[in-house]
């Protein structure tokens, strides 16, 4: 039997903007079904890291190796652009902080969910619509709203729609950038609950960037703490949050109200 392989393997990744450092010396493995949280305050390099991992920008050095369904482990930056773009719209998902950046606001909720299916060749209107219906139900959006444009949705609904739009092709890896940022606390709680359910049910692997340690505690199995472009501490979520080793992590943890 083959040795189990990580879904995503990151080696010595770095990105700099001239002398300005985005992130550096990042290495980790992400295993199937695992949720990795990247925490740190703004400017810590967590968003730059996320953008490199999700192939939004090209890193200055290092490798991002993904275990593709067809060809096994591949460095995503060695792929042709067409392979990479196909991967991004089938086996990957990318949930942006502001749902308006991740949705087509001018077209209906149904079309937003159906777009990825059509991009990979679905040509039966009725089938596409049925799948869109199912996904709206899964993310708790009233199916009566299927023909409404997301511009008429509340922020929480837009975020749930963005999630459905990403998950419709059953990706194995989803990147989430502050998915609960900008939402009211009560709306956040509902979204987190939904996300946790979906992740468990679908066995998704997730990389989630957040500055909110409560979100990290609720969703992530493992945490990476970033400061000034470097990973200063990583480990199991409970370990990191309950017994932080690095001074910066201690500061982060102490700065939130304890329950």
């Amino acid at each position: 039997m083959n040795r189990p392989t990580p879904l995503l393997s990151v080696q010595d990744l770095g990105k700099s903007y001239g002398p300005h450092l985005g992130c550096t010396d990042v290495s980790f493995d992400l295993w199937p079904g695992e949720v990795l949280g990247i925490v740190g305050e703004s400017g810590s390099g967590k968003t730059t890291l996320m953008n490199c991992l999700s192939a939004q920008i090209e890193p200055t050095c290092g490798k991002v190796i993904y275990d593709t369904r067809m060809d096994g482990a591949r460095d995503i930056f060695d792929m042709s652009e067409s392979e990479r773009r196909l991967l991004m719209r089938t086996d990957w998902g990318l949930v942006k902080q502001n749902p308006r950046d991740g949705l087509r606001l001018g077209v209906s909720a149904g079309a937003n969910v159906g777009e990825r299916l059509m991009a990979v060749g679905a040509r039966h209107y009725g089938d596409i619509r049925n799948v869109a219906n199912d996904w709206l139900k899964k993310v708790e959006i009233d199916v009566g709203r299927i023909d409404n444009p997301p511009s008429t949705f509340s922020g929480g609904m837009q975020q749930r729609l963005q999630i459905a739009r990403n998950l419709v092709t059953e990706p194995r890896l989803v990147f989430m950038d502050e998915p609960t940022g900008g939402l009211d606390v009560s709306v956040q709680a509902r979204l987190l609950d939904l996300l946790r359910g979906l992740v468990n049910r679908l066995g998704l692997s997730v990389v989630i960037v957040t500055h909110d340690l409560a979100v990290a505690r609720l969703l992530a199995h493992r945490l990476m703490v970033m400061k000034d472009g470097r990973v200063v501490e990583q480990g199991l979520t409970d370990q990191v949050l309950d017994d932080p080793q690095h001074a910066y992590t201690q500061l982060l943890v102490s700065s939130i109200l304890q329950p």
């Binding site: 652009e81 067409s82 773009r85 087509r104 077209v107 209906s108 149904g110 079309a111 159906g114 777009e115 990825r116 059509m118 991009a119 990979v120 040509r123 039966h124 209107y125 009725g126 596409i128 619509r129 299927i146 023909d147």
Partner: protein, 288 residues
Amino acid sequence: MDGYNFAYLDEQTKRMIRRAILKAVAIPGYQVPFGSREMPLPYGWGTGGIQVTAGVIGQDDVLKVIDQGADDTTNAVSIRRFFARTTGVKTTEKTTEATLIQTRHRIPERPLSEGQILVYQVPIPEPLRWLEPRETETRKMHALQEYGIMHVKLYEDIARFGRIATSYDYPVVVNDRYLMKPSPIPKFDNPKMDNMPALQLFGAGREKRIYAIPPYTKVKSLDFDDHPFEIQQWDENCALCGSENSYLDEVVMDDQGGRMFVCSDTDHCESRQSDGHVGPMGTQQAAE
């Protein structure tokens, strides 16, 4: 015409245009950039079609020019006169007699045959333009064959109207590869493009693109399996020739709502009338 070369353009320019056409024929449906020149007619009046016609026309060609299917609309007259002046070739209004047909917005009703060339005037060649304004991005989408967004638009039509609501310039896929705009012909004409024996050339002057459909090439209008492509149909027949299956223009007769429908293809209508066909408002023509 004194002081100007045959067909207006100099031979160097015509050679450049022919090279672009050859490339276009070799890659059906692909938009080939070309060094479009300023022509003495304004952009939007068919400068692309005129340059393509000028590139391929020879002394022995017989030229037909139509606009909206008709030979006698002002722009068709103007372009026909331009080539009559600059080439001296024979012109015709008969589809069957023409070796070269330049058209704006229609394909003749009578099926074209091998050896004929149909030149379309194209305002906007890029089928993805309304969905993505950037040329750099649309070229990438073509290169990677990323056409899903086009179906999103069709999906929206069906969700909103119960049908695909595009009635002209209806997008097609050529040779199972390139998404292509057929120029603003009514979708009624789309099926004629499929497997046509004649060569189809498309010229966009302002946008500086030439593309082509070689003879006998597959041209498929986009649709969904459960919402197949359909063409327009009329309850009326042509008032003059009685045709039941041609594209009809609506003519407003008075301000009381009176109207009649006549063939938009004037040559088709006249040929039928001289063959003895009569519509409800036509008159019997003397048999020849």
